[in-house]
């Protein structure tokens, strides 16, 4: 049985501009012990999805349909206090901008202990021990527990929040852009920490990011999100080596790679659609170099393409051919501007 099974989840926001459908009919599964990366550009709904899973959405957001099954139980059908039992004990989250997530007038250690005592039913003394243990696990010195958040660096705050997420040994951790706000060297360190923790604790991870290289280095599976929908999913190997959705192909070309030499960096021209008025057909059509008339009218469904890989594209079966043409096709859309990636040592 999957650890997490999301079925047809939709989330809307009420704004002054109207109703924004941020998450539209999203379904995916996370088997126990695996790491799933959720990739997409800003505004595609990933954070909203994450917050819906842990049940802490902004006041103007609403889950309009769907189910979130955790170890078989649909969390959305639970009364509030029962759902709360799952929070942090079974599902924990490292939010975006973790550095702002710590109470500025309380010492970091006290925040950890508070969490453990209130949610874990340990005594203060036991909680304090556990806090020291957790800090050590993420590579922070225990004397840092006495500090206030503003006395820690960005990387240290990030690790502190990761430590807090692991405090009650949850089987699932959702990490929303855990390294985006950090500089490259610290990014590497924190990613390494996450990798080590996964190995040591066997925690399942749902990693949300816009950076596919992070997903490539840390995750087993990946789901690509665009305009509130999942447009492709599969193992990291499948999706990145052999993408079946034009958006994924475009992403690959847009990101520099430290592994292989990449001659051209090609952006995906254009902007995501306005989710207050989502288009009738496929949301990617306006930016897609392979669009056909059908794309404008009919929104493709996420369909299995063999081997557990899924894609939502009318031309998914043509993927091998399209892949080869992708770089050039996107470049043409971008107005023939082919830029070179800086030469770098591997």
């Amino acid at each position: 049985m999957a650890l997490l099974d999301v079925e047809r989840l939709s989330v809307e926001y009420q704004t002054l501009q109207g109703t924004v459908r941020a998450v539209r009919d999203v379904s995916f599964s996370l088997p126990p012990g695996r790491a799933l990366g959720l990739v997409g550009e800003s505004g595609c709904g990933k954070t909203t999805l994450a917050r819906a899973l842990i049940g802490v959405l902004p006041r103007n957001a609403r889950i309009t349909e769907g189910a979130v099954r955790f170890e078989g139980t649909d969390l959305l059908r639970l009364p509030a206090d029962q759902f709360n039992d799952y929070r942090w004990r079974r599902i924990a989250m490292v939010p975006q901008a973790a550095m702002d997530s710590l109470d500025p007038v309380q010492r970091v250690g006290d925040q950890m202990v508070e969490t453990i005592v209130l949610r874990g039913n340990l005594t203060r003394a036991a909680a304090a021990d556990r806090a020291r243990e957790l800090f050590a696990m993420v590579g922070l010195q225990p004397d840092r527990l006495r500090l206030y958040p503003h006395e820690l660096s960005g990387g240290m705050k990030q690790r502190a929040v990761i430590a807090m997420a692991l405090a009650l040994r949850p089987p699932l951790v959702i990490a929303d852009e855990p390294v985006t706000a950090l500089d490259v060297i610290v990014q590497h360190q924190v990613l390494q920490t996450l990798r080590d923790l996964r190995e040591a604790l066997g925690v399942s991870l749902l990693l949300i990011t816009h950076d596919i290289s992070v997903v490539a280095s840390l995750c087993d599976d990946v789901a690509v999100m665009y305009a509130g929908r999942i447009v492709e999913s599969g193992t990291v190997r499948q999706v990145f080596a052999e993408p079946r959705h034009p958006y994924t192909m475009g992403l690959r070309n847009a990101f520099p790679s430290l592994r292989a030499e990449q001659e051209h960096l090609v952006p995906i021209e254009g902007y995501p659609p306005d989710l207050a008025h989502p288009p009738q057909g496929c949301a990617f059509t306006a930016r897609c170099p392979f669009a056909i008339p059908r794309c404008w009218e009919e929104d493709p469904v996420l369909r299995a393409e063999g081997d557990g890989q899924e894609a939502a594209c009318h031309r998914a079966h043509e993927a091998p051919v399209l892949r080869v043409q992708a770089a050039e096709a996107f470049a043409r859309l971008a107005g023939d501007e082919i830029r070179s990636a800086p030469r770098e040592a591997c």
Partner: protein
């Protein structure tokens, strides 16, 4: 080091403002129509007293000399004698000052205690009828004239129900061993109750709305969301995390409030015949007892300006602890 420089510069500014206000006062009293000596001399003073006062205040010298003498005397705390009681003005002032301070402090403490709780409640009950009607209700307490509320309170609780005395700080004819026993006596407290409650009712409007505003801002912050993600009970989220952060501007306002309400006490003291600085000022102005009027005004201004300075200091002390910016 920077901190010391900041404190010193603020202190200097404070002294400067006080100086300017004192100067304004000096000019106002000198520019009065009529005999310029009227500020210090009452026609019924004896010759000796007149001569002494002329010398002390240089009343027949040119204006700038008078000004210098005025400042010197002000710093020394000498303002001459009251026209009416012949007492040195100092004594008058120092007798009534504690009464004003006690009234102001007790009213402020009560107002802020209630206001903080009320503001937090309004913020927590956002969008409900409690907020919808609560805010106009709080505004009403600020819109109703203090003296009118005082009059209502007196009419109902003192005259009609006779729960509280009719005015003053102590029952007439009562004697106390010392100022301290007087202050803690039941009689004094009974007299203090109604004026303090009335003043507190008026004053709580500010901390209530301020706390509400502050809480609403804080509740939108990421660390509050994170506290909820951790599944902490809502009570803890609101009290231990939101409220503690929201209190910062309120605490600053409290320090400022001491200064401001000292000036406004004039009204409450008059309605309840409370023997404080404000009432002394009003009666002195009405009776043209200028030495007392001058001194009372200066004392009120000095307390206020000084408390502004303290509030500034306070804020700068608490501020570096907080890592994010406030509007």
């Amino acid at each position: 080091m920077k901190r010391i420089a900041f404190v010193l510069s603020r202190l200097l500014q404070t002294v400067l403002v006080l100086l300017l206000v004192a100067t304004m006062l000096f000019l106002i009293f000198r520019l009065m129509p009529g005999n310029p000596l009227v500020a210090y001399l009452d026609p019924t003073f004896t010759e000796d007293m007149e001569r002494q006062l002329r010398a002390q205040f240089g009343l027949d010298k040119p204006l700038h000399v008078q000004y210098a003498l005025f400042l010197r005397n002000a710093v020394r705390g000498e303002f001459g004698n009251s026209f009416f009681t012949r007492e040195p003005v100092n004594e008058v002032i120092w007798t009534v000052l504690p009464n004003t301070l006690l009234l102001t402090l007790s009213a402020l403490l009560l107002a802020y205690a209630v206001g903080i709780a009320g503001g937090a409640l309004l913020a927590a009950r956002r969008g409900t009828w409690i907020e919808h009607w609560g805010i106009p209700a709080v505004l009403a307490t600020r819109a109703a004239p203090e003296f009118w509320v005082g009059m209502l309170a007196l009419a109902i609780f003192s005259f009609s129900l006779q729960w509280f005395p009719l005015g003053g700080a102590t029952s007439p004819g009562s004697v106390f061993a010392s100022n301290w026993t007087r202050i803690f006596s039941g009689d004094f407290l009974q007299h203090l109750a109604l004026p303090a409650l009335t003043l507190a009712l008026y004053l709580q409007g500010l901390p209530t709305l301020l706390m509400r505003n502050s809480m609403l801002e804080v509740m939108d912050e990421d660390f509050i969301t994170f506290a909820r993600m951790r599944g902490l009970p809502e009570r803890i989220v609101v009290l231990r995390h939101a409220a503690r952060n929201a209190l910062l501007p309120v605490v600053t306002a409290f320090a400022l409030g001491i200064g401001y309400s000292i000036g406004g006490n004039v009204i409450i003291e008059t309605v309840f015949s409370w023997p404080g600085l404000g009432r002394t000022l009003v009666r002195a102005v009405a009776a043209k007892d200028y030495p007392v009027a001058q001194a009372a005004f200066l004392m009120i201004a000095a307390v206020m300006i000084f408390m502004n300075f303290v509030a500034d200091l306070f804020y700068s002390l608490l501020d570096p602890r907080v890592s994010y910016e406030r509007r």
